[in-house]
């Protein structure tokens, strides 16, 4: 089925597809890794695109009782029930306008898909180890296991989320402190 070029995130996903194809093309290896920038309030974060499955406008999310507040609930993603994690709550960031349109970034690690709720998505950017800075990580209770580092981007800084570390983090399963 042809993709809908007007669907949310389709422009970025098309770039993701091209980036993945380039990675598979001999002779195009690069030290750069592709990241998708996402916004949490006014702060910029980035996720490696290799984990990215889809970007969708936040659907109806069913709340689950007696789970940590960073686990927002579950959603139906094409007949598959996915947990949705509120990244702002996980990083202990203040909540923003609850009526604002948000995006769920569906990621896949191993065979497990998870939805990550963010305030917005930005660009697909190539970053290399040279782009990393010595800037301190944002304040967060899980910073050692959930960030690869901080990089310079468009005159500012972007925190690179270690998605594998995040999804395997014991903090993901622990009550908020």
């Amino acid at each position: 089925m042809p993709s809908d070029p007007t669907a949310p995130g389709e422009r970025i996903l098309e770039q993701v597809r091209r980036a993945r194809e380039e990675r598979l093309t001999p002779g195009t290896e690069s030290v750069h890794l592709q990241y998708l920038t996402v916004r949490l309030r006014d702060e910029l974060y980035a996720l490696r695109v290799e984990y990215l499955v889809e970007l969708i406008p936040a659907p109806r999310i069913t709340r689950v009782p007696s789970v940590p507040e960073h686990i927002l609930g579950v959603m139906n993603f094409r007949g598959e029930i996915l947990p949705v994690i509120d990244l702002k709550r996980f990083f202990s960031l203040p909540q923003s306008d609850p009526t604002a349109d948000r995006i769920v970034v569906v990621v896949k690690h191993g065979e497990v898909r998870t939805g990550l709720l963010v305030d917005g998505v930005g660009d697909l950017v190539p970053l290399s180890p040279d782009d990393l800075t010595e800037e301190p990580l944002v304040a967060g209770r899980t910073q050692r296991v959930t960030f690869e580092g901080v990089a310079r981007f468009k005159g500012g800084l972007v925190s690179l989320i270690d998605l594998e570390g995040l999804l395997q983090s014991e903090d993901l399963y622990a009550p908020a402190r």
Binding site: R60, T62, P65, I71, N76, G79, E80
Partner: protein, 152 residues
């Protein structure tokens, strides 16, 4: 003729506790009633708001959902009784995602079913003999240990 697994259905009674939309197998539900604090009930009562991590309900009319099992009946107090729905086991019921399964503090939560474009969290409310035996053990975290603590 044996029923095909693809067409097997389950009757589910939905109900709400605070913001949570929950459902339970309808078969073991013995009766529904309005909660009347002045009238006693033979069945021990369990307030599901407590098990959903919520505070007491403020002034709203609440309902009793009496569920029978091998050990007897338990009257669960819920905020609102919803619909009786029939769901297809193969297409409309899923286990909990591993993240939720691993974390859940309410062990009776077991799955998710679809009602239209909504999801209903499935909970097993059938009381067991073990539940009643644990009644006097205050360290056990089962709904029936709440009996007699005066939270209603």
């Amino acid at each position: 003729m044996e029923e095909s697994a693809l067409t097997t259905t389950l009757d589910v009674l939905t109900f709400r506790v605070g913001p949570f939309l929950l459902g339970t197998e309808a078969g073991p539900v013995a009766r529904l009633a309005m909660l009347n604090p002045g009238v006693g009930d033979c069945a021990p009562r369990v307030d599901l708001r407590r098990w959903c991590g919520l505070g007491p309900a403020a002034g709203a009319r609440r309902h009793l959902l009496v569920v029978g099992g091998e050990a007897g009946e338990v009257a669960y107090v819920v905020d609102q009784v919803g619909d009786l729905i029939t769901v297809n086991l193969a297409r409309q019921i899923w286990p909990l995602p591993p993240l939720i399964e691993r974390h859940k503090r309410w062990r009776r939560l077991w799955g998710v079913c679809a009602r239209g474009d909504e999801l209903v969290l499935m909970v097993d409310l059938v009381p067991t003999v073990e539940d009643f035996q644990r009644h006097d053990d205050e360290t056990e975290e089962t709904p029936l240990t709440s009996r007699g603590k005066g939270f209603l």
